[in-house]
Symmetry: C2
Subunit: 171 residues, 2 copies
C-alpha cells in the first residue's frame, strides 16, 4: 500500500480561502495532472468538507470520506465509504489498496502525516498569493517532517510548478 | 527603484515556527544564495522582530527597520534607520535606492505587497513541513495577487528549490 497526497498550494502555502472554497482556482494544467494521477489510484481519500465541495467530480471514483459523522464505517454507495478515523483502524481499511490518493483538505493531509501514513506528496505551486486562508497542514505538533524532492517541472507558461516528494528518512 | 522579497518557506508555506524563531532552519545552499543576493542590494528592509533575530548578520548591511516604536524615522547608526511606515512615506525613503531587498517577516512582506511596492520574489522552498507557525503573508484582504515565474532551480541534493517570480500584470 502506497499513499500519495496531491495538493495545489499558493506561494504562501494556502489550499483554499475558506472551508467552502471550491478547489477550482488552480490552473487547467494542474487539473489535467490531478485527473491523470487519480486515474492511477485504486481509492481516493478525502475529508468531509472537501467531499462536499467536489461531490460531482468524485462520484465516479472509488472514494473514502473521513468524517466524525458516522460511528465507525458506513457504506453510502457502491463506490462510497464513510469512515470515522477516530474510532476505526484506517490503515487496515486502506491496506488492500495498492495506490491510495489523498485529496485533502488540510485536516486529512495532516491526519496522514501525523499517523505516519503518508508516503509521497505531489505539490503543485500556483503563482498566486491569497494572503489568508487554509494552510496545507494544520495543528501539527512535534518536530518538522523532512521530505526529499524526486522531481520538478513547470506545467505552463505562467509558471505553475509541480514538485514530487517522498518522505525522507528521519534526520 | 526595484524591490525584491527574499523568503524561505516550508512545503506548507511557513517562514518560522513562531516570531522568535531564528531563521537558521534553512539549508546551507539557501544561506549562500541569500547572502549573495543581499550583496547586490543597496538597502535591506526588515521588520523589527526579524531584525532582533538577525541583528548580528545584518549589522554590516545598510538596513531599514520597520517599526511602530518610533514616531516617524530615527537614525540608529551609520547604516541603520528605523522607519514607522504608518506615519512615514516609505516609498519616498526607498526611492533613492536602485535595489531594495525585503527580508521579512510576514508583516513586512505583506506591507510591501499590499501597498503595491513589491516587484520580485525569490522563494526558496525547503523540503520540510512545520505543520504550524507563521505564513509567508498574513491578513491580506481583497483579490489574490498573481505572479509570473521567471526561473526555477534545485539548490541541493535534498531538493531545496529556488523559484524566482515577478508580479504579473493584473488578471
Amino acid at each position: 500500500m502506497r499513499t500519495i497526497a496531491i495538493a495545489a498550494v499558493t506561494l504562501d502555502g494556502k489550499i483554499a480561502l475558506d472551508p467552502d472554497h471550491f478547489p477550482d482556482w488552480t490552473s487547467a494544467e494542474d487539473k489535467v495532472f490531478m485527473r491523470a494521477l487519480l486515474d492511477t489510484a485504486d481509492v481516493v481519500v478525502v475529508g468531509h468538507n472537501t467531499f462536499k465541495t467536489a461531490k460531482e467530480p468524485l462520484s465516479k471514483r472509488n472514494c473514502i470520506v473521513l468524517t466524525g459523522s458516522v460511528a465507525s464505517t458506513e457504506r453510502k454507495g457502491d463506490k462510497l465509504l464513510y469512515v470515522n478515523p477516530g474510532t476505526t483502524d484506517l490503515k487496515a481499511i486502506l491496506e488492500p489498496y495498492a495506490t491510495v490518493a489523498i485529496l485533502g483538505g488540510a485536516k486529512t493531509y495532516s491526519y496522514f502525516l501525523q499517523h505516519n501514513l503518508l508516503h509521497e506528496l505531489y505539490l503543485t505551486i500556483e503563482p498566486v498569493v491569497f494572503g489568508r486562508g487554509i494552510s496545507l497542514f494544520e495543528h501539527l505538533e512535534g518536530s518538522p517532517t523532512h521530505f526529499k524532492l524526486l522531481s520538478m517541472r513547470k506545467l505552463n507558461e505562467d509558471g505553475t510548478v509541480l514538485l514530487h516528494y517522498s518522505l525522507a528518512a528521519a534526520k
